[in-house]
């Protein structure tokens, strides 16, 4: 496989109305299918909405065949791979902000958000359990890693995915816009776009980001889906503040060309990082 036709869905959601959000997912899936997409990425908590607070338990799902919502999504994943944002409930009733990667009718991987922002306008740690692993996984397009919003505000999760073999990083967010000043874009948008581009450059990997749009009370989500190639070049950029499906074609051979020129992965001294981390942690 040389080319991956990627689609990024920046959708609005109904807060706590999973059925209605499922309908929207199915409509976007149809649209992406019609455009011959191979993989469609939805934003963080795309099935539920973001500021869930006491709604968390009532919107939680399991990404399995006998779940009445995931049944439809798993079926759809026979035609194209999907990344779905949802609230995952484990067997002991802990609730996680999660992304599921669905392919060929199966759930290939579930990522639980490992950084729950609980400061400023955020209160995730109050309502959700913390994920405790960052793992890459194999797909029909190669090795992939998923992160959710605050996960990639920290440098270590993308770094770990890189070392774990991910050549394609799929980021999803429900990023509330903030920091209006005299610049062309909001501070929050500039920050996220800056780091996603930087990860693509530093890790000589593909990085794609899907962020939701719409409002929840006074919070505004800005959209602006984007995809970058292993040179850090922007492949596609969605509009701001409106629903859209953004398409990007990932030429997977670019990984080889970029890394032949710029062997950052080859030269990465993981043992050095490891020994210094051990020293720092033992202090």
């Amino acid at each position: 496989m040389m080319k991956l036709n990627l689609a990024l869905a920046q959708i609005n959601t109904k807060l706590g109305d999973v059925e209605s959000n499922l309908e929207k997912h199915l409509a976007y899936i149809e649209q992406a299918k019609a455009e011959k997409s191979d993989l469609l990425v939805f934003p963080e908590l795309s099935l539920t909405g973001y500021v869930l607070q006491d709604l968390v338990a009532s919107v939680a799902r399991k990404p399995v065949d006998d779940d009445p919502v995931f049944r439809h999504l798993l079926k759809a994943s026979r035609d194209l791979d999907l990344v779905i944002g949802f609230v995952d409930e484990d067997s002991r009733h802990r609730f996680y902000i999660a992304s599921a990667y669905l392919s060929g009718g199966k759930t290939l991987h579930v990522h639980h958000k490992v950084y729950l922002p609980t400061y400023g306008l955020f209160d995730e740690g109050r309502f959700f359990a913390w994920g405790d692993s960052v793992r890459a996984f194999d797909t029909r397009f190669g090795r992939v890693g998923m992160l959710i919003c605050e996960d990639f505000w920290h440098a270590s999760p993308p770094y770990l995915l890189w070392l774990d073999g991910a050549d394609i990083m799929l980021f999803s967010s429900a990023s509330p816009g903030r920091g209006l000043n005299d610049k062309e874009k909001l501070e929050s948008a500039r920050w996220v776009e800056g780091v996603t581009k930087a990860y693509a450059s530093m890790f000589t990997s593909f990085v794609a980001h899907a962020n939701r749009v719409g409002y929840e009370d006074g919070l505004h989500f800005w959209g602006g889906a984007a995809a970058f190639d292993p040179n850090g070049e922007e492949l596609a950029h969605g509009p701001y503040n409106e629903e859209a499906l953004t398409f990007a074609q990932l030429d997977l051979n670019q990984l080889r060309r970029t890394r032949a020129r710029l062997p950052l992965l080859r030269d990465e001294r993981t043992n050095l990082a490891m020994s210094e981390l051990q020293r720092i942690l033992q202090k």
Binding site: L15, V51, D54, K183, L186, Y215, D217, Y240
Partner: protein, 275 residues
């Protein structure tokens, strides 16, 4: 003095705020808005944003003069109604508030001002039902922080698009939206009595206090750091005290907790729950 830049990208502000009005009104199955138009800048901007968000025909601008209100206020409000093409209505409140004034010959200006502000709230919420539109707020960040408003009066609304913009930023956005110049240029006033102006009453200018509030609130400066940045110490103290003492106007009244689940503490849902 530290250089403080409150300039905003007005195109972006306009897009976010009109989107907010449209989303928060239409998601509950309503398509219209009601705005109390004083003739001043804040309500002019809210009205213009609502008209852009919903279409002028879906906005009702209500003028609610008292007999002592200035003719300028009425004229300026009409200027805006005509320019935007929104629906207009004038409901004089004199006959509604005078009977209450007359009950107490000793009544103070402050009490009269509060009664007028709350009477206008009653009229607006009545028009809200009659017009089937939500009341769009007109309080800016400066006055919300300073508590320069009447609780359950001019502060009452269903949604507020401009409450995170300082007064000087409101001026900027108003200019970008072509609000008539006389409205932008005149001294801000609650127009509750003749000759009243905000800046006279507050004892400082919006230009100064906006910069100070920006450091204290947005940039998390301590009062001492704000003084070191060049603000007069007494001014800083006055403003810090005002912000603290008016927190009660910014929060719903506290409910005494006795059960395991109490509204406001551990019964937590956004207003947009289910929409």
């Amino acid at each position: 003095m530290t250089d403080i830049n409150l300039t905003i990208n007005t195109d972006l502000a306009r897009e976010i705020l009109t989107g907010f009005i449209k989303s928060e009104i239409t998601r509950v199955g309503i398509s219209r808005a009601v705005v109390g138009l004083s003739g001043g800048l804040d309500s002019a901007l809210s009205c213009a944003l609502a008209a852009e968000a919903l279409g002028a025909e879906n906005v009702l601008a209500v003028r609610m003069p008292y007999k002592a209100s200035s003719q300028d206020s009425l004229d300026h409000a009409q200027l805006l109604i005509d320019q935007l093409g929104v629906q207009g209505k004038t409901i004089e409140i004199t006959n509604m508030v005078e009977p209450l004034f007359k009950l107490d010959p000793e009544i103070s200006k402050m009490r009269m001002g509060n009664i007028m502000a709350r009477e206008r709230m009653i009229v607006l919420y009545d028009q809200s039902e009659a017009f089937k539109g939500l009341v769009v707020g007109t309080s800016n960040k400066t006055e919300i922080l300073l508590g320069y408003s009447t609780l359950f009066g001019d502060s009452a609304n269903a949604l507020n698009p401009i409450g995170d913009l300082y007064k000087t930023q409101i001026r900027q956005l108003a200019r970008a939206m072509n609000i008539p110049a006389p409205i932008i240029d005149k001294p801000p006033s609650a127009d509750l009595w003749e000759g009243q102006t905000d800046e006279k009453e507050l004892g400082f200018t919006y230009e100064d206090v906006d910069k100070l509030l920006y450091l204290l609130v947005d940039q998390r400066y301590s009062p001492q750091e704000a003084a070191e940045a060049g603000f007069d110490e007494t001014f800083v103290e006055t403003v810090v005290r005002r912000v603290r003492r008016n927190q009660f106007k910014r929060t719903p009244p506290p409910i005494a907790k006795v059960s395991n689940r109490t509204i406001g503490y551990d019964f937590l849902y956004l207003r947009d729950w289910g929409t």
